[in-house]
Structures are given as C-alpha cells and as structure tokens.
Amino acid sequence: MKTHKVEQLILATLGFFWCFLMWFSTAAFSPSIAAHYRLSIQALGLLASSAIWMAPVGRIIAGWASDRFGAPRTFAFILAGCGLISVASAYTSDYRLLFMERTIVAIAGVSFVVGIQHVAQWFDANEIGTAEGLYAGTGNVGAGIGALVLPRIFGTNYHGAFLWLGTIAIGIAAWYLVRGSAAKSAQQRKLVRERSNIRDTVFVWSRYIAIALMLAYAMSFGLEIAMNAWLPGYFTRGFHDAILALGFTSVAGVQIAAGTFAAVQSFTASLFRPFSGFMSDLFQRRKWAPLPFIAKSLPYAPRLHWLGISLVLITLSMVGLTIAGQTGSLHLSVGVLVVMGVFISCGTGGTFALVPLLFPDRPGAAAGFVGGVSTAAAIVYPLVFSTNSHIHMGYMRVALYIFVPFVLFYFWAARYELQPEEHGLLSRALAAEDA
C-alpha cells in the first residue's frame, strides 16, 4: 500500500480528535442526563469523575498494545469498541447501564499514547516535535469542541449525539484499518514488535530519564486537567466579590464567569501545544543548550534544555498565580492563568518531543508509562490546593513541595552526557537482558 507520513499523521490526529470528542461527550450532556434521571450532585460528580478512571492503567496497556499489534489495529479497535458502546448507550433507558456504558466509552481517552507511537514510527528526529505537537494539540481540541459544539447541535438530545458519535467512530476505525500503516519500514516494525515484552517494559519504567519525563508530564498535562476541575471553584470562592462587581450576580452567572476564566487555561494549553513541539525542533536545529547541569553533548540535548526551561516556567507561573491572587486582582490572575496555559503547553509538547527519541525501540511502552501514570497527578493537586484555608496559597505549596523536587530530579536525570536511558533503578540484567 502506497502512503505518505502526512496521511498517517492526519489519520492519527483525526482518530485522536474523535476519541477525545467521545471521551468528553458525557460531560457535555451531563446537565441533560442529570435532569432526565433526576441525579443528585453526588451522582453527577461520580459521572463526571468516571471519565478519568480508565486513563492511568488503560494508557499503559494501550501503549504496549500499539508496540505489539501496531497502532492502526490498536486505534481501530479502540474506536470501533468505544463507538459500538456509544451507539448502544444511545438506546439505553436505565441509568446504571448508561453509567457503565459511558465509563467504557471513556476508554477512548487512552488512544493518546497509540497515536504518539504511530507518529513516532513515521517522522524523523528533526521534525518529531512539530509532528507530535500537531497530533496531540489538534486532537486535544476535541474535548473543547465537544463542550462547545455538541450541546448546540443536539440540544438536550444526548441520545442522538451518542448515536452519531459512535457511528462516525466506527467509520473512522474502518478507514484507519484500511489506510493505516504501523511503521515507515518493515524492519522498524519488527524491531518494535520484538521489544514489546514485559522485560523491556520494566526496563523503560525503571529508567531515571523515563521517570523524569513522567514527572514532567505530571507537571504539565497532569496540572492542566487538575486545573480544569479546580479553577471554576477557585474563581467562584477566591474572586466572588470581583465577579459580582462585573455584573454576574446570579448563581448561574457566577458559574459562567468562573467557567470562562478557567477555560482559557485549558484552551491555550491545548492549542499552543504544537508551537511547543515546533520550539523543541527549533532548539534542536539551532543547537541551543543554555541550562546548567543538563547534558549538552547528546544528539537531542537541546530538546532536554527546552523541556527544562518549560518546567521552570510552569513552576514560576504557579508562584505568580499565588502572588496575583494575593493582590486580589481578578484581571491579573486571569492574565497569569493565560500565561500559565502557554507554559503548560510548552511542557506537554516538550515532553513528547523527547519520548520517542529516548526510547525509539519501545515508543508505545514509553508513551504509555509517561502519558498514563502522570494523569494520576491530576487527583493529587486539587487535594493540595484545598488543604490550606487561604485559597490562593495552594499554588505556592504545589510549586515548592512538589514541582521544585520534580524539576531538581529532572535536572539530575538529564545530566548524563552519554545514553541517559542506560541509568535506572534496576540493573540492566534485571531490567532487560538485551535492552
């Protein structure tokens, strides 16, 4: 079959976009579902949180499966499986069954690591940052588009939305199977397939640099999704008087204003992500390596420096958010939040510009580990944010007690001038004999 890497990039991006659309479609219709089934606040919260339950473990399995069976088969399986369940959920009238079906549909969110593996198998080292950024950034927009567009098209008819989303997903799955190709060459595909065993997976998981990248992704993507959940409540409580002064005096109005301020972080973090990949490519091309301690002689050293800069900027923006909150200025806080969204995108794009280069023979296992385990951080941050009675201080606490150690570990793990992936918790013999 004759194909081009851009076709494979479009396939992966479209598949990921649609998976994210399905992933967050339940949340988009949660008011309608809650009204139809007369759900309590607790039940609504459970429905909302169920979207992320499958992500940590599911992404690890999906990453391994994409190495083992190839990205097109894995992606098509996820799309078709979630699509079929989505269609079934359109005809369900029992809430318990609907809840289970929508939890299964949320598995679509694990497809992120499959596309990362697929793109990594087709694009060269000098353009991997932009390619992965375009894939992940554009695909991520599916979540925002779902929240904005689906309720406008379907109104309260979530049955119709689930039916259409599932049917189109099955169509994309068929297209992916027909036109998708797992790797640029048969030799590359064979090598990756042979490395998809438990010993090689343990090897990846135990590498210091893989752990550092996982923590970097927890600082960026983990923070992004944690803030999605946290920020509306933060603005409602922390800037209640300022929002009232804008004219949003009803409960619904305050919710809309707080939700809008929160959404700018998510929107900039998603849509600036390709730019971060481009910046990683630019650092590589110009051979910029300005940071101390981090390796300077590795072939991909400038990309390590770009990610290091991004992590420092994320930490500083967290401190900035606390300072802005302390001043009581709503405008300043929202401004810092927009900047933070850009810095978060630098972290997410910078991380996955490196993962395929550090583990070229195990891209799926590495992407699954970095992209999967890091999502658990989204559960931790809001807990820390809410431990202090002074609501603005939570960001400072996370920056000082979580992010600073993460950044220091990153600098330490990225200091090796030769094959950083050789250094880890387990010896080579224990991790993988032939790694």
């Binding site: 004219g247 700018v264 730019f275």
Partner: protein, 84 residues
Amino acid sequence: MNAACPSPAPVPHEPWYKYGVAFLLIEMAFAIAVCGYSLYMTFHGYGGFPGKHQGVSTHTDAQHRERSFTQPVYARPHSAQPYQ
C-alpha cells in the same frame, strides 16, 4: 545561547513542514482570538464564550424569583453594574 551540542548539521525540512508550521500558527491565532473574545465578554459582564449573552441574569436569584412574575430579567444592560 550556549551551542555546545555537537549534533550533526541540520537536515533540510521536507515540504510538508512549512504547511505544518502554518497550521500551528493558525491554531495559536485561534486560541488567542477565542481567549481574547471570551475574556472581553466576561470582563464586560456578558456571558463569555460560548456566549450565553441571553442567559446571564443581572439579578440575584432571590430578585429573579421575585421579578419573574412581572417582567423578563435576562436582558443584560450595556454597562456592567456593581453588585448592590
């Protein structure tokens, strides 16, 4: 910037790359436009993106309940009024 990295000479990009960069610039412009629009709307007392211009009451829920029998209260005045 320190240029200590001894990686090989840069490889010229393939033709697709410039279109990819153009696409990401469009995405960035879109993000800035949507954020700018939604923040402008919100800071001026409107609904913000996705633009619930007609659904944002300027009154408290109690006032809303009281007045809803006599007149619609969803219309937003042009200037933001401080809460009183």
